[in-house]
Amino acid sequence: MTALLAAVDWGQIGTLTVSAGLGVDAMVFAMAAMGLNIHFGYTGLLNFGHVGFMAVGGYGVGIAIATWGWNPYLGLVLGVVFALILALLLGVPTLRLRADYLAIVTIAASEIIRFLARSTTLRPWTRGTEGLNEFAGEFYALNPFKATFYDWGPFFFTGNNLFIILIGWGFTLLLALLIWQLMRSPWGRVLKAIREDEDAARALGKNAYWYKLQALMLGGAIGGIAGMLQVIAKSTVQPDTFQPVITFFIWTVLILGGVGRVWSPIVGSMIFWGLLALVENVLRQFVTEGFIPPSIMDQNQVGIFRFMAVGIGLMTLMVYRPQGIFGSREEMALDAR
């Protein structure tokens, strides 16, 4: 037993865990969850198609640069514009409906976007299932980290990765500050009032519909930016990276951190990706060392097991700690009264 545990390289596992917690995925999901937090955490909108905003953001920048040959900065603008248009298309007709209807419409919309992006009909713009690849280069031309690899102690980054991670986390922090300011302003107070009881807000003279639309657009734009960061970081935009399950991962990140708190998406995402890497790498080493026999789990199944863990984690969190890591138990108890 101890010999087996000693055979496991805990140092490497720790490094991989920390790297994952700071990596591209953590950064992208932190930002996406910030958008979702505005929807669900502050306004109470049930958006189950958040990945759709990421998709239109990613395709906005991809199509603008790779297909139309636009200036890359205009491409970034187009990504945000696409996300805003999607928010309007979704919000104008559905925000008058019941909350769970919005959930179904948004998840359907995100699948409609994915199907369209895959289709041969839109192939001239999206290149179908293969996706677009030639657009990120212009951004990496700005990369000051010219070396191919950076090897800092146990940590290891490619120059391009380092560039996008730093930009992404920097932008995430800026957005967090913006949201923090928004949510302590009277505007944020109206959003929270709508979350608690829309009719009460309307009876007090607040145009709930308009505020919900604003929240949907703001959160959607942030989701779009997350999508843009993702496709630039991976240098490719492909329809099947925008599966509905991504939306649910974003939900898990948000709930893990604590719904309706400014910093929870960031911390939630770091913990989520750190934990996933930890589970995966520990299991991988256990499998390699024969600590877990191959009849129970092989290397392929380790990857799958991570997703099972997400499912279990989401359920357990929701049942036993719906307030997340940082939320307060008392606040949650108020809902039940």
């Binding site: 928004l182 302003s185 009876a203 003279g205 607040k206 145009n207």
Partner: protein
């Protein structure tokens, strides 16, 4: 009771000398069921009007129609003489007509003071672009906060200032909802069963607050089941049954009105009632009748205890 109300005839749909609200031919149906069918109703400015009626009489639906939460199939309604048909609740609230709800809608995960501040109208910081720049709204915010604290003191909620509204008791929530509605400086306030679920100790305080609204010149319309409350604070009573207005007048005359007695006593023929509800309504009707024979109980002395 204001003097000019004395001259008004005690009949349904009667015109008032200075109506703040006027409704004509308002109908609302759900499927085949006619929930509200009001030929005419005017509400006098600056008095307390009670809206009573047996269960299922359409009082809450009528309230929803008045305040824009539901839209009538047909009919007209006017506020200060101008039509408000098709206006949404937030537009009406901005025009000066606010309402509370039968089941209190305190915003549980907002603090009491935030609940109050939300009620204020015309906040510059409530627009997205200005909200990012606090200097544009911070002065107004302080003003609002000061006013909110005044009101909280008046409603004896100042000790709860920073608590979540969700931690308040049922009665305190009713108080908070009323105080919050007052933050918008309304000219008309519609209270849907303000006393329901409030413990008796708080009832008196709530009643005083309602009466003090009249002294400030605010028109009050309220739905209530408790006849003692109606007798205590209302200047004018409107009785609804089966969606129609069947009687109007000061409460002394209402108890003698044959249509009202029929409506209450006959109610169980139409609406499926539980035994308890039926008992309750019978008791209410009986006590209403008994009370009018004994003459008016005088509650006027109590208003001097008001803090201001």
């Amino acid at each position: 009771m204001p003097a000019d109300m004395a001259t008004i005839a005690h009949e349904p749909g009667v015109s008032k000398p200075d109506p703040v609200l006027a409704v004509e031919g308002m109908r609302r149906t759900f499927g085949g069921l006619v929930a509200v069918d009001v030929d005419k109703l005017e509400v006098q400015r600056g008095v307390i009007t009670a809206l009573i009626g047996p269960n299922g009489a359409g009082k809450t639906t009528f309230f929803n129609l008045l305040t824009g939460f539901d839209q009538a199939d047909e009919g007209s309604k006017a506020f200060n003489g101008s039509s408000i048909v098709g206006k949404s609740p937030h537009q009406l609230a901005r025009m000066g007509m606010v309402r509370t709800f039968q089941l209190t809608k305190s915003l549980t995960k907002l603090s009491v003071i935030d609940n109050m501040k939300l009620g204020a109208k015309g906040q510059r910081g409530e627009s997205f672009l200005t909200s990012i720049i606090p200097p544009l709204w911070i002065a107004q915010e302080r003003e609002i906060e000061a006013r909110a604290e005044d009101l909280l003191r008046r409603f004896k909620l100042d000790h709860m200032r920073n608590e979540y509204a969700g931690t308040l008791s049922g009665g305190q929530r009713k108080l908070l909802e009323m105080a919050r509605a007052l933050m918008s400086n309304p000219s008309v306030i519609c209270l849907d069963e303000p006393m329901a679920g409030v413990n008796p100790a708080l009832t008196q305080s709530l009643l005083e607050h309602v009466k003090s609204l009249r002294e400030e010149g605010i028109t009050v319309i309220f739905v209530e089941h408790d006849m003692d409350v109606v007798r205590d604070i209302s200047d004018w009573v409107v009785v609804m049954a089966e969606g129609r207005i069947i009687a109007e007048g000061p409460h002394e005359t209402i108890g003698k009105n044959q249509a009202v007695i029929d409506a209450y006593l006959g109610a169980h023929h139409d609406a499926p009632l539980s035994f308890e509800e039926e008992e309750e309504q019978l008791a209410a009707a009986m006590s209403a009748l008994a009370e009018t024979d004994q003459g008016e109980a005088d509650p006027a002395g109590r208003s001097t205890e008001e803090e201001e």
